[in-house]
Amino acid sequence: MKGDTHKLFRDGLFKNNPVFIQILGICSTLAVTNTVKNTAVMVAGLLFVVAFSNLTISFLRKAIPSRVRMMAEGLIIASFVIIVDIVLKAYLWDISKQLGPYVGLIITNCIIMGRAEAFAISNPPWPSFLDGVASGLGYAYVLLSIAIVRELLGYGTLWGIRIMGEGWVNWTMMVMASGAFFMLALFIWIMKGVVFRERGEA
């Protein structure tokens, strides 16, 4: 069991990382990583949705008729996304406005349906929940790494707090979509071309 848990986390975080190995969830990776605060809320939302939709789907896996399997998964995922949206609108209004349509678009994030289909539908609840957490964490650290660099270079701040000195000239490109493309490509290159190659896993 301990070995299985270790494998789930190793896959979700590195070997089968949803962002830089499977290239899933790219839309939100590009869209919300211009500030760390927005990114943190987005990844927390996704982590909640992927973990609890995996758990629910796994609980119901023997009851879900196979011919409406994806319909039921879609319903469960959408419901958890709406929960996140309502909670943000009620308790984190500013962030909810800044994230705009991207919270609702968690429904279309391929990571969630991917984990439901690839794991939760055929595995017991606890490992499915852990698989969701591992995938969510794998998505989280990639997005947060990109967001830290983009906000620091683009605004000279981290979490809205000024880090760079007064003389710092903001790299406007970093907070625009093109900056996200460059940073994501750089991240994938570092992970696959340097880290994984050194470990012989590329």
């Binding site: 869209a31 119901l60 009851a63 879900i64 008729p65 011919r67 409406v68 319909m71 039921a72 319903l75 469960i76 419901s79 709406i82 929960i83 309502i86 909670v87 609108k89 009620a90 308790y91 209004w93 406005k97 705009g100 349509p101 625009m176 979509a177």
Partner: protein, 212 residues
């Protein structure tokens, strides 16, 4: 025959299962929505109140919800234009009229753009503008929500005949800077603002002159 019965039972089970699952999640979501609705309504009202104050050229010292709402309640009066069904806000009536704020709504490139536009007490110059809702392309048309775009209207008169900032002082009063790469959104915004000025601002100006 038994095979047909099995198929029929399977179909029935599928329908019952999906109906039950849908009902379960609708119940949970409805309960959560009803529980949080008062908070969401306060947040939405706060947005409108802060936008009205900003459009009137008033920057609250604190943007805490309770401070903004009490300042709004102190300064702003919601009015209905006589004989017509549109509203505007009168700001600072008690302590010498400060500004009039007009809500606007119209079609952008992808969806509705909603906001408020403020004019000084003489209805001659714009005091501010704020966007409440828009679904324009992030990074392009979506930049209508940025301060540089909104602040450029302060001191201008409108209606806006051109999307440029080149020209003499007179021309500047009737033009604004479009967003690069978002010509359609800029043009849509120009037409929304112009319609507001032609219909509501001018109507109120005439009405106030008649009253005098």
């Amino acid at each position: 025959m038994p095979e047909r019965k099995t198929v029929w039972l399977k179909s029935l089970y599928t329908i019952v299962f999906m109906t039950g699952l849908t009902a379960l999640f609708i119940t949970v979501l409805s309960a959560l929505f009803l529980k949080t609705r008062p908070l969401i309504e306060i947040n939405e009202a706060y947005d409108v109140k802060l936008a009205v104050l900003r459009a009137a050229g008033i920057s609250p010292e604190s943007t805490e919800a309770s401070d903004v709402i009490s300042l709004y309640d102190l300064l702003v009066e919601e009015k209905e234009f006589p004989a017509e069904k549109w509203n505007y806000y009168q700001v600072g009536a008690e302590e010498g009229l400060h500004a009039f704020v007009f809500p606007f709504r119209g079609a952008g490139l992808w969806g509705e753009i909603e906001g408020v536009l403020g004019y000084d007490a003489s209805l001659e110059h714009i005091t501010g503008m704020d966007i409440l809702k828009q679904n324009e392309t992030p990074g392009l048309g979506g930049r209508i929500g940025e301060d540089w775009f909104k602040d450029q209207f302060i001191g201008k008169q409108g209606p806006f005949t051109e999307l440029t900032q080149n020209g003499g002082e007179e021309k500047l009063l009737y033009s604004f800077q479009a967003i690069t790469g978002a010509t359609s959104t800029s043009a849509a915004f120009q037409s929304i603002i112009n319609e507001l000025i032609e219909k509501h601002v001018k109507a109120l100006r005439r009405h106030l002159e008649e009253e005098r």
